[in-house]
Symmetry: C2
Subunit: 358 residues, 2 copies
């Protein structure tokens, strides 16, 4: 069976998970649930299905090379690393990956572009979904994995499914983040999936569509790769001048929403982007009071809280629906319904030039 090269995008910071996630130590490098870091969980998801996936490669920030390598140190064959000198969003990343795979493997190699910081509870169901998408990808389609919604989420984009193409579907429509009522209609309808950020494609087909719909990104990414240089530790560092010149855009906007070569494969594998502390609470096992207590946490007369400490005791009494996180040199307290506002703290700290806290 055709095997796929997973390209793990580990470039984000996940600042809505401050104070755990920091610029120098982002979300995907932490164990959010369980023992392993999200990056290692992601790698494991692929290596657990060797009939579908070849060894992974990772694209991460230049500044994270050391900490990423530390997390991979015990692996027999650590993944190849491509290092971005700065973040240019996912389109440039996808282009770099496509050019690199076309040159290093083969132009028609299959690539799965995958975020490093998502939670997927069933690796087997994930591999099944990808397996079903392979024929369409082989045929030249750019296949987006669409997550089967579990609730009327207003924070994600949706894809409306069109006609079936084998085991996958045409994409009839991309929809921006909907309002609550619309999200509820989508959920009831059943034919709307969340845009999960996973893309399966043949390297040469992504290159062709990128060159057609986002030629500037394609050209700069290709140049950044060609002018790239090896790092002392064995990574491939993209050329900063060229990569900086690549327009910053998402692969969704730059390519997927423009090409007529898209397909959608439904994914129903217990997915969460754990993009906020509220979604961490959602995805976690709770005690009888609805609390998620991680580390040295004591809750008395409290319910439906997430309390997480990396060292010192956090003691809460008489609180409800609250998120309390102590990590490193900072403590966060925010109502569970307002965890999107954690960004306000990060922005304020940046304004205050408290860089040691970012």
């Amino acid at each position: 069976m055709t095997q796929i090269i997973p390209a793990i995008m580990s470039g984000g910071a996940g600042t809505r998970l401050w104070p755990l996630a920091r610029v120098a130590n982002p979300k995907q490098l932490h164990a959010l649930m369980g023992e392993r870091t999200m990056l290692r969980e992601t790698l494991e998801r692929f290596s657990s299905a060797p009939d579908v996936f070849q060894p992974s490669m990772i694209v991460c920030a230049e500044g994270h090379e050391t900490i990423v390598r530390e997390q991979l140190a015990d692996m027999d064959e650590p993944p190849r690393l491509i290092l971005e000198p700065m973040g240019r969003n996912t389109a440039a990343c996808a282009a770099v990956v496509a050019y690199w795979v076309a040159a290093e493997a083969a132009p028609d190699s299959l690539v799965l572009l995958a975020p490093a910081d998502h939670l997927v509870s069933s690796a087997a169901a994930f591999a099944d979904a990808v397996r079903r998408a392979i024929p369409a990808a082989r045929d030249g389609r750019l296949v987006s994995l669409g997550v089967r919604p579990t609730h009327p989420e207003t924070g994600y984009g949706y894809i409306r499914l069109g006609e079936p193409i084998g085991d996958v579907f045409e994409a009839a429509q991309f929809v921006e983040k909907p309002d609550r009522a619309t999200a509820e209609r989508y959920l009831a309808h059943g034919g709307y999936l969340w845009n999960g950020g996973y893309f399966l494609f043949r390297a040469d087909r992504m290159i062709a569509e990128m060159e057609r719909h986002a030629p500037e990104i394609a050209a700069r990414a290709r140049e950044a790769l060609e002018r790239g240089a090896p790092t002392a530790a064995g990574g491939l560092l993209l050329n900063a001048e060229a990569f900086a010149a690549a327009p910053s855009d998402s692969v969704d906007y730059a390519v997927m929403e423009k090409t007529d070569q898209i397909a959608v494969a439904p994914l129903d594998a217990g997915w969460s982007d754990v993009g906020s502390w509220a979604s961490v609470w959602d995805a976690s096992a709770k005690d009888e009071d609805g609390n998620v207590l991680i580390g040295d946490a004591l809750a008395i007369g409290s319910s439906d809280c997430l309390i997480r400490s990396d060292s010192r005791l956090i003691a809460a009494v008489g609180v409800k629906d609250l998120v309390i996180v102590a990590a490193g040199d900072a403590v966060l307290v925010v109502p569970r319904g307002l965890t999107q506002d954690v960004k306000k703290i990060v922005n304020r700290l940046a304004d205050l030039k408290r860089h040691e806290l970012l």
Copy 2:
């Protein structure tokens, strides 16, 4: 003018102010507001009125001698220390002080028994109130300073004022902690004062009333003093065997509510026992959002909170009426209306044998 020996009772732990107040480092040894510790503020209150007060003496726990002496190290003449081998409440403390002053100074010396951990915003008004109570004390009365209520507090005992005796009053009635409606009537009435825990008396008169109404406490306290021994640092350590045998009772119950020799002097000096984090918030200056922020604290979209950190940043977003305190190896989060429940945390930690956190 007759001068008074202030006897500062520094024996409590103030566990409702956990995690700042700890067994080994109790409330009165912290700077709760401003720069100086409560003990130093209390000493300053007396030394600032040398026409009324002689140098103070301090009664504290044996285990606190070192840390108390550290706080007094920069004083020209540090106060004499009497050390309790264990806490026996205020009656035994009052008896020890009375016997000690009668022997070391003179039987008719005036003593002001004063808690170390109260806030008094006007030292001048405090000295005035004491000054007005001196004639009654000289005449043999045990004079309680009664705090003029500022709100319908249900957490304190009240004293109903009787007939005037010079500048002070007879005590017509002691009232246990009232319910809310009763407290509101007392406030409207005006003739009910809070029992503030300050007592002015002649040493020989306290001894006489203690021997009459609480003879066992008097005998054990006297024995503990007579069998006391000097510490290496110069304190007087009460005899543990004798002091342990003294019944544990408050001076209010043991003597003041039984004797007919009581008088009450109104005190209107900006008093607070700062007995909970809510009362710390009450007594503190607030920003325009009603927040009290002490140390490295950041509040966004938050109001009427007390946020206090001794080191790490505490960042709160979107919270209201919340107390967040980080001190040492612990973080407390509790609604401002439930700060009495902090005791539940301390009790639970004791049950869990987490002695390092107490």
